[in-house]
């Protein structure tokens, strides 16, 4: 499999689903960051991130979500994380991020959580 891959899908007119797969580390985080910045530039500030195919995350990857959380709030948006894998959950727990982020188990739940 590829080391890192991002796919975008419009869940609703104002909610974008970002499906990421592979390793989100100090090598790949800039690609993720750039993708999110591009979405913000397009005015897409309500984001759902599908994590079920993320095999590994380091602090550089977690840092992207931390930055996105505050940046989306500043723009009147929000971010919801979906289905973290065990290694991802472990890092989130270690950094206390599980209490900071909203989580959803399905696109429907994410849409509900991101409702204005």
């Amino acid at each position: 499999m590829k080391e890192f891959e991002i796919n975008l899908e419009q869940l609703s007119p104002d909610v974008t689903l970002i499906h990421i797969a592979g390793w989100l580390d100090a090598h790949t985080f800039e690609y993720m960051e750039q993708t999110i910045n591009n979405l913000f530039d397009e005015g897409k500030v309500r984001l759902a991130v599908e994590l079920s195919d993320v095999e590994y995350i380091s602090s550089a990857g977690a840092g992207v979500f931390i930055g996105t959380l505050s940046a989306s709030h500043e723009r009147g948006g929000d971010i919801v994380l979906m289905n973290p894998t065990e290694p991802v959950q472990e890092v989130f727990d270690m950094l206390g991020l599980s209490q900071v982020f909203k989580f959803a188990a399905s696109p429907q739940e994410a849409l509900k959580a991101l409702k204005k």
Binding site: E3, W23, D25, A26, H27, Y56, S58, S59, A60, A62, G63, V64, I66, G67, L69, S70, A71, P87, E90, V91, M94, L95, G96, L97, Q99, V100
Partner: protein
């Protein structure tokens, strides 16, 4: 020397694309060691953070060199030394390490810096840094192996 003694060495160019190579090398060494499976991912993460710091800060503004990762494990501990010839970057006792990270406030402010160091110190039992002018910088990370019972 007992059968539980594992030593190994990897040298890679100081480029972030090699972090995946470092992680694979560690997983392989951990499998041969007595480190409990439950600690494997955490130790790989901590070393990944340390090597990433070395790559990102150790060769800032200078020609990139190599990073050397040496493993020495026995029935007492899993020890990893990370060596480079770059700028001295004191991960273990530098100013960022001295400040107790108020994680929630840190994250709430959108600050992403220092999380790698936080992870290293949270996961590992020892984090030590040695550097002398003109010599190799060395960061040592140690995880104690606790025998059940």
């Amino acid at each position: 020397m007992s059968d539980s003694h594992v030593t190994d060495k990897l040298e890679v160019a100081a480029e972030t694309r090699n972090l995946a190579v470092v992680r694979e090398f560690l997983h392989s060494a951990i499998k041969r060691s007595l480190l409990p499976t439950g600690d494997a991912n955490k130790v790989v993460l901590a070393v990944d953070e340390a090597v990433a710091n070395t790559i990102q800060h150790g060769y800032e503004g200078m020609e990139r060199g190599n990073v050397e990762i040496l493993i020495d494990a026995d029935d007492q501990s899993f020890r990893v030394r990370i060596r480079d010839n770059g700028i001295s970057y004191d991960t273990a006792t530098g100013s960022a390490a001295k400040a107790e990270l108020d994680l929630q406030a840190h994250i709430a402010s959108g600050n992403k810096r220092g999380l790698g160091l936080f992870i290293m110190r949270k996961v590992m039992d020892e984090v030590r840094y040695t550097s002398r002018e003109g010599e190799v910088n060395e960061l040592t990370l140690v995880k104690y192996i606790k025998v059940p019972g």
